[in-house]
């Protein structure tokens, strides 16, 4: 059978006319499809956005890395109401031991402290990180201007600093920070570089990441020389409640040779550390695991919202079927007339199927517009990142057309199956 495009266009035009004749009824009929399609697009956009964010975050930690953090146990916190020197966390001994694991390529230790960073009158509370030059590479840190410190700086314990982008904008809104001097506690540091901006959202803060944009990087030897290995935390109740802890390293960033070996390496690390750290004052973070967890979460999210969308599309489809059945009854006589002047069963099927597809496709179209608007609103008002992918629009539009075909077929067949003589007599 040849397909006559001009004829097809005429069929669609006729169908559209009939639907337009009952605007309100048609609009109410397609509401289910509208919401179904809109929720498919919105759900995919929110899911994609969240997973994109998580992926970026975790990738910034390095998917081939394992991170160990020193953790201060809550039991210690109680006993330190009065000035008391606590000892916890990772040590040089741990570093040496862990370096012997064959699958470990290198370990970059970091010492950290939260403190005010001053430039004349301006200040910002930032994370001061003392580490090795390799930190830049292992954490995928980019340098926008200037340079990161090198091994010469490390050897000489030079007082230099690399600042994050947020530190830069709050201390040097209008100036070039390179070569300027900032003050931390009572020491001065010369800025030699500015780190590029890193994606950060509060969402996953709790378990892994710190905002790398509010950080100041200093050679590890320099921090040891200037600040020692103590951390001082300000309490709420004056000097008496200040905490002083002796911490050698706050963090190890461990690079593993192959992705396959990450999990076994992580359990080896856990074995080694548990021997010397009877109290578990450390936490092992495996970004790859977190990545997988994020993917799992996204999958569950998609299944749940996908079922909601599926239900509303089915309900929408049933709505269309219902109205199409009513239309077929309403136009029984018309069907008889059309058959009498020579319409084949196929022509009648085409006519009514076209109408139901036009109905569901226009519902799909409105749904797409709504589905694009919802994620935009979510981004604007909830601050969540959303990502509308072209294939999600294509998918949901195809679904709406498929709904039209599926739920329009039965009424169309019913129309075509009518006996022309009976149909002509129908009042």
């Amino acid at each position: 059978m040849k397909i006559n495009i001009a004829h097809l266009i005429r069929i669609v035009r006729h169908g559209w006319k009939n639907i337009w004749l009952h605007k309100l009824r048609s609009f109410l009929t397609v509401l289910g499809i509208v919401f179904g399609v809109a929720s498919v697009i919105a759900m995919l956009a929110i899911g994609e956005g969240a997973s994109y964010e998580a992926r970026k975050m975790i990738e910034s930690l390095g998917s081939n890395n394992i991170i160990i953090k020193s953790v201060k146990l809550p039991a210690d916190a109680k006993s330190q109401q009065v000035s008391f020197l606590g000892v916890y966390g990772l040590t040089d001994r741990d570093l040496r031991k862990l370096e012997t694991i064959p699958s470990v390529v290198r370990i970059i230790p970091a010492w950290e402290m939260e403190d005010d960073v001053w430039y004349y009158e301006k200040n910002i509370s930032a994370r001061v990180v003392g580490t090795l030059p390799d930190y830049k590479e292992i954490m995928n840190l980019s340098i926008k201007t200037g340079r990161f410190f090198d091994y010469t700086d490390l050897q000489n314990a030079t007082p230099v600093a690399v600042i994050g982008s947020t530190v830069r904008t709050s201390l040097f809104p209008a100036e070039d920070p390179i070569g300027k001097t900032i003050k931390i506690k009572s020491s001065y540091f010369t800025i030699i570089g500015i780190a590029g901006e890193k994606i950060f959202t509060g969402a996953s803060e709790s378990f892994v990441a710190e905002d790398m944009n509010i950080a100041v990087y200093i050679p590890l030897t320099t921090t040891k020389l200037f600040f020692g290995e103590y951390e001082v935390k300000r309490g709420t109740g004056g000097f008496q409640s200040w905490e002083r802890n002796w911490v050698q390293y706050h963090k190890f960033i461990i690079q593993v040779s192959e992705t396959d070996k990450i999990l076994t390496t992580a359990s080896l690390i856990s074995d080694i550390l548990s021997q010397t750290h009877k109290k578990q004052d450390y936490q092992i973070i495996v970004p790859l695991e977190l990545l997988r967890q994020a993917e799992r979460t996204k999958r569950i999210f998609n299944i749940v919202l996908g079922s909601i969308a599926a239900i509303s599309l089915i309900v929408g489809g049933i709505g269309i079927m219902n109205i199409m059945l009513a239309i077929v009854t309403e136009r029984t006589r018309e069907i008889g007339i059309r058959r009498a002047v020579g319409a084949k069963r196929r022509d009648i099927i085409n006519q009514f199927l076209t109408e139901s597809i036009i109905l569901s496709a226009s519902g799909g179209f409105i749904g797409i517009l709504l589905g694009i608007a919802i994620p935009k609103a979510v981004t604007k008002f909830a601050g969540m990142m959303t990502l509308i992918t072209p294939w999600s629009i294509l998918l949901s539009f195809s679904i709406s057309v498929a709904v039209g075909i599926t739920f329009g077929l039965y009424p169309a067949r019913k129309a075509a199956g009518l006996d022309p003589i009976q149909a002509l007599r129908y009042e």
Partner: protein
């Protein structure tokens, strides 16, 4: 008469309807022949089977047994699609209640038969306008059927029936819903068509309508009771 001139030929046609398990014979063996160009009226009381006969002639209905030849071709064995094809190309129907589609304009109603032949839109339109003029409704083509009088609606139906240049026009009580003046006009129009050569078969119980015809078949209880 030349055998090749036969347009409708019934051979012992029987039609039985099944209504809820009950067999209802409507035609009980009808044989007749109608020649090309004839104007035949089928008369009879209601329930005599005249409309069923017309429906079979128009390929809307099929025979239970017996044979029906249209232009010498046996069509008792054709399927639904083939019957639709014949209706589309050879038959023009005119009904008592006009049977126009209310949401379409006069022009769109007239155009409909060619829509299913997938004739070019432009040509269809030209022909429909021409036919509308012929039936005297050239200035009403944009109107809906509900805006026309009964006589005008039946004219639209006649124009629609002529759209596919039928060899056979079948009219079922074409004046049944009309006043006598409009009825006369419609019959005049139909007779004109017949004079131009189209075979015309009219089902009626009105002797005033039947008198226009050249031959009257009288039906009674599913049989032809009289012919003159």
């Amino acid at each position: 008469m030349n055998h090749n001139n036969s347009i409708v030929k019934f051979e012992n046609v029987v039609k039985v309807y099944h209504l809820g398990g009950i067999e209802l014979p409507v035609l009980r063996g009808v044989s007749c022949e109608i020649q090309k160009g004839e104007h035949v009226a089928i008369m009879g009381p209601s329930g005599s089977g005249k409309t069923t006969m017309l429906n079979i002639m128009g390929c809307l209905d099929t025979v239970t047994s017996g044979k029906y030849f249209l232009e010498g071709k046996d069509i008792s064995t054709l399927d639904d699609d083939q019957l639709s094809e014949i209706r589309s190309k050879k038959i023009g129907f005119i009904f008592q209640s006009y049977n126009l589609i209310p949401q379409l304009t006069v022009l769109e109603n007239i155009e409909m038969p060619l829509f299913y032949q997938q004739v070019d839109e432009e040509k269809t339109r030209e022909k429909a306008i021409e036919l509308a003029r012929m039936v005297g409704l050239g200035d009403r083509i944009k109107h809906r059927p509900s805006e026309l009088s009964g006589g005008q609606q039946q004219r639209v139906a006649i124009a629609r029936a002529l759209m596919n240049d039928p060899i056979l026009i079948l009219a079922d009580e074409p004046t049944g819903n009309l006043d006598s003046v409009s009825g006369k006009e419609i019959m005049k129009l139909l007779c004109e068509l017949n004079e131009k050569g189209t075979t015309l078969i009219v089902v009626t119980h009105d002797p005033n309508v039947a008198k226009y015809s050249g031959r009257i078949l009288k039906m009674l209880d599913g049989r032809i009771s009289d012919e003159n």
